[in-house]
């Protein structure tokens, strides 16, 4: 069967599930769209228009697979400013302009834009947006419509609104507040109750169904008026023909206005960041582990935003919550996004009169809940464990965003991060001198591993360079990322790298970070920023991920693990390899009961002072109870000459000319060595991975003199060593 026919068949096979998933998503998108639009001071239908146009256009033109597009919560704050300062028509003009900018960003391949912001600053910004939404809608939820100056004022007014809710004279307001509180309880309680029938519909839809049901109950059973004041009901939803007739004409007369372009920029910034972060997160959820084409998605979002702005909708962004619902319900390609748009059209067309039966406070409770989710105290705790400096970044961004505006907030976040980095590393020059240097090197090692080395520093400022290289590696490969030459690595980088690790793990690859054991950090969190501290004693309190895994490896092999360094390298000095080398420290030791089998990281130097070269590598030391001949086995032969001085000569092994050709086997006592290297041992070396092996008469030293080994390599080394031990013991 041809490839295209195959894919068509696959598409039709998954279509029913995708349509169902689109249906479930539309159940959330409906109330959320109405609420987000109203929270932004736009007509409620604008939210639905956004979702419909976004769903249709992005599903056809986009480059991602399981994302859902529509009005985003992050944009509420910015849209609110746009609608209040520019007026409805001016705001639509701003939306259209931001759509254009998004397309340009897509063509400039700025899909990496989101990488340029420190993650704590982004968290702070999102939390601020959450507080803006929560602050404004909380009052409506409790039946107390307010008109205050700034978002801070709304937050401050929350206690008085709560107290006021118990003292309404108008029973209709009390009913409104009651509807809001019940809706909020549904939102909170929904995820806690595991019931198959309850989980059939998402929580927001239960609120819609419940409130419409109540409304009919009053009308048909009690034959009473609606219990909630009209001001607290959703305003009339226009019919399809009305929507077309009353499409707002965007007013571009304000293009010379600063405020206009301020709004356009904020809209573009937030829309792109929200979309990019969502796409990145959704890619991790995708069960088929596909990679999204972000730049293509940006273009599609921009085009959809223009279309939406022209039709009276808001900015179209990729939304994480709805996308994850999509994945959970079996959405597997873009048709579910398309279906969600079509279902929304159907809902509005068939039930537009029913929708006005939903009380506003109930709808706003949904928003209060999403706002709370963005700024929840749990998040604060999470950031706090990474490090105190991240909390500073978080709060400065949050407060600046709340007090001034979004753009200033994110700029302040970036600046404070920079300042904190300089203070922590105590080295401003490190950043200034090396910012523009191409600091990433990648090559494929002969065994097929990708080796990536980063120099100087790696932070949000230059992570895109590392990312550009990492993105070239298929996720099914093995990657070793060496950070030992980088003096400073920040939290943003670690967080992103851990995303890479999980993606590689999921797709069958392996992504390992090495060279961090010498870096200091103040907190125990794996993503805490780290800097290289020369001369400072070894850091014990905080184990790196590699060290923790070493601990696990040790337990698996029933051995002891000790991360502490020791300068006692005496057991190594008897080896010729160390005759001219100084052992600085031995650390990360793994050994068995009687210390016969010992694996360790070692840091040694060749030469002194000016000619000094530092080497860090991993070695295996096996002690034997019997005498061994002194020898060294090596493939490179780079030690041949040095050892020749010591009276070592090449030892030929009879009947194994191939072995003699491939390996350099050197030693003094030719006879004893020839006796040791019987057929069995020679075959063992020929059929196993190559290591440099040396004997000092009592024990064997096994290693590769290049760099610290990754966990996988360590396991291989242990396995090799165990079998070598057996074979040698058999021969003696």
């Amino acid at each position: 069967m041809s490839k295209s026919a195959n894919s068509i068949q696959a598409f039709t096979a998954t279509l029913p599930r995708n349509i169902f998933s689109g249906f479930v998503v539309s159940l959330i998108a409906l109330p959320l769209g109405l609420g987000l639009a109203m929270a932004s001071d736009a007509p409620p239908i604008a939210g639905i228009i956004t979702a419909v146009i976004g769903g249709i256009m992005v599903s056809i033109l986009g480059g991602s697979h399981v994302t859902i597009t529509g009005p985003g919560n992050g944009l509420v704050g910015v849209l609110l400013v746009a609608f209040t300062t520019l007026g409805i028509q001016g705001a639509y003009a701003a939306i259209i302009c931001s759509g254009l900018l998004l397309i340009i960003l897509g063509f400039l391949r700025m899909g990496k834009l989101a990488e340029f912001f420190p993650s704590s600053a982004i968290q702070g910004m999102l939390a601020a947006i959450g507080l803006i939404i929560l602050g404004k809608q909380f009052h409506i939820m409790l039946g107390n419509k307010l008109a205050l100056e700034s978002s801070i004022d709304y937050l401050i007014a929350i206690p008085s609104t709560i107290i006021g809710a118990f003292q309404y004279n108008d029973i209709q307001l009390t009913h409104a507040a009651l509807a809001g509180v019940i809706a909020l309880l549904i939102m909170i309680g929904y995820s806690k109750i595991r019931n198959k029938y309850l989980q059939l519909f998402p929580a927001p839809m239960w609120i819609v169904v419940f409130s419409i049901g109540m409304s009919y109950f009053y009308e048909l059973v009690l034959k009473e008026d609606h219990p909630i004041a009209d001001a607290y009901m959703i305003p009339k939803i226009p019919s399809a023909s009305e929507i077309i007739a009353t499409v707002p004409v965007p007013d571009f007369s304000m293009v010379n206005n600063w405020a206009f372009w301020g709004s356009v920029l904020s809209l573009t910034l937030i829309a792109s960041i929200e979309s990019l972060l969502s796409i990145k997160a959704v890619d991790q959820l995708d069960p088929q582990k596909r990679r999204s084409n972000v730049n293509r998605d940006l273009k599609a979002l921009g085009l959809a935003t223009i279309g939406s702005g022209l039709a009276g909708g808001l900015n179209v962004v990729t939304v994480i919550a709805r996308s994850s619902v999509n994945v959970n319900n079996g959405g597997s390609n873009r048709s579910s996004n398309f279906a969600h748009a079509i279902f929304l059209v159907l809902f509005v067309w068939l039930f537009s009169s029913q929708l006005t039966r939903i009380p506003l406070p109930a709808l706003m409770a949904i928003l209060v809940y999403t706002g709370y989710k963005l700024a929840s105290p749990k998040l604060l705790k999470k950031i706090g464990t990474v490090g105190k400096e991240q909390l500073i970044i978080f709060f400065i961004t949050l407060l600046t965003t709340l007090l001034i505006d979004l753009i200033t907030g994110i700029v302040a976040g970036v600046l404070i991060t920079l300042i904190i980095h300089v203070i922590i590393s105590k080295n401003a020059l490190l950043f200034i001198q090396n910012l523009l240097k191409p600091n990433v090197l990648m090559f494929k090692e002969p065994n097929g591993n990708y080796y990536v080395s980063v120099k100087h520093f790696c932070s949000f400022l230059n992570f895109y360079k590392l990312k550009a290289q990492l993105d070239l590696i298929p996720e099914t490969e093995d990657v070793v990322l060496d950070l030992s030459l980088a003096q400073f690595i920040d939290h943003t980088v670690f967080e992103n790298l851990s995303n890479y690790q999980s993606i590689f793990k999921k797709r069958g690859g392996h992504f390992e970070i090495i060279g961090l054991d010498m870096h200091g950090s103040k907190s125990a969190h794996p993503y805490a920023l780290r800097r290289l501290v020369p001369g400072v004693p070894f850091i014990k309190s905080n184990l790196t991920k590699r060290q923790k895994t070493l601990q696990e490896v040790a337990t698996v092999f029933k051995m002891t693990y000790l991360p502490e360094k020791t300068e006692d390298g005496n057991f190594l000095t008897s080896f010729r390899f160390f005759r001219f080398k100084k052992i600085e420290r031995v650390y990360n030791r793994i050994y068995n009961e009687n210390k016969q089998f010992k694996l360790f990281d070692i840091h040694y130097c060749e030469g002194e002072l000016v000619t000094k070269a530092d080497v860090k590598t991993t070695m295996l030391h096996i002690k034997f109870n019997v005498e061994l001949p002194e020898f060294t086995l090596d493939r490179e032969g780079f030690l041949e000459r040095i050892y020749a001085i010591a009276g070592f000569k090449d030892v030929p092994i009879k009947n194994h000319s191939d072995f003699s050709k491939r390996f350099y086997l050197l030693g003094e006592d030719t006879e004893a060595i020839q006796k040791l290297f019987n057929d069995h041992l020679v075959q063992f070396f020929e059929s196993n991975p190559y290591y440099h092996i040396e004997s000092d008469g009592k024990s064997l030293l096994v290693f590769r003199p290049n760099r610290t080994a990754g966990i996988k390599e360590i396991k291989k080394l242990i396995d090799f060593g165990k079998r070598l031990q057996q074979v040698v013991e058999q021969t003696i």
Partner: protein
């Protein structure tokens, strides 16, 4: 293959604490390459200075070292550059200075100017030493250019003279040749295929050059080829640092204009952070 790549080697002599080490390195290399050593000093000629140099080099003269000592006046960099041109010097040796942290090296301003402007090849030594250090591993720039062949030949000649064990030829996958941009899984697959193809092409190109190298030069040396991804010119320095090479041989870029100094180009990067001893072939 010309087994004598440099017939005239020059070194600027400043009567600093490093004098002896610098002279020893230069003299040793001149002997090994059977080249004439030209010493130049910017300053007045005094008997003391001459005897000091003569004393230093006495042991080498015993081994038939041919050398000359010239005294010149004027601005150091200009005089040295002119001297190099007049005497048809093929290689000038410059010493680097070690930074306070003892880990990184950099070139002094005069040395840097000479490295940029000199018409001949330049050898930058980061740690001149009186006693001979082995040069076990040479990393050589195998990137496609007119001079590539010469670069690799020189590496093998030096490798034999200096008793090296290993020569790594660094190839480069140029970003500009990777026409496929990675957008999603499909393009990633295609890009990887393209990259493999480019890698094979590069390997084949280097192999052709290697075939033309005399077997006498290659038999005692382990040859490795490594394709790296990164910024041209700069990454090779990074690579040399990672694999702890003892000597890095690179081609000089065609011409260094003022623009290159503002938008630092490859060689400028290497001049600011010397990974190891560097030989720049011109």
């Amino acid at each position: 293959m010309n087994s004598q790549p440099f017939k005239n080697i020059a070194i600027g002599v400043a009567f600093s604490p490093n004098l002896k080490a610098n002279l020893y390195e230069a003299a040793r290399l001149s002997l090994l390459l059977k080249a004439k050593l030209h010493l130049i000093h910017i300053g007045d000629k005094t008997v003391e200075k001459v005897t000091q140099v003569n004393n230093c080099l006495a042991s080498f003269v015993e081994h038939q070292l041919e050398f000359s000592l010239d005294f010149q006046t004027g601005k150091p960099e200009e005089s040295i550059i002119k001297y190099v041109e007049n005497k048809k010097i093929e290689l000038i040796i410059l010493g680097a200075v070690q930074k306070e942290d003892l880990l990184t090296y950099y070139l002094g301003s005069i040395a840097r100017k000479i490295a940029r402007a000199a018409a001949c090849s330049v050898l930058l030594l980061i740690k001149p030493s009186i006693h001979r250090r082995g040069c076990a591993h040479i990393v050589v720039d195998g990137m496609e250019s007119n001079n590539c062949k010469r670069c690799i030949y020189t590496a093998f000649i030096l490798g034999n003279v200096l008793d090296s064990d290993r020569i790594t030829i660094v190839e480069e996958i140029k970003k500009s040749e990777l026409s496929i941009k990675v957008k999603d899984d499909k393009t990633l697959r295609k890009a990887n295929l393209q990259r493999e193809k480019l890698m094979r092409k590069e390997n084949a190109r280097v192999d052709r050059i290697l075939e033309s190298v005399d077997t006498a030069f290659t038999e005692n040396i382990t040859i490795e080829k490594r394709a790296i991804f990164g910024k041209r010119g700069y990454s090779i320095g990074h690579f040399a640092q990672i694999c702890r090479a003892d000597l890095l041989i690179i081609n000089a870029p065609k011409k260094l204009s003022l623009l290159d100094r503002i938008f630092t180009n490859d060689i400028e990067h290497i001049l600011t952070e010397l990974p190891t001893d560097v030989l720049i072939l011109k």
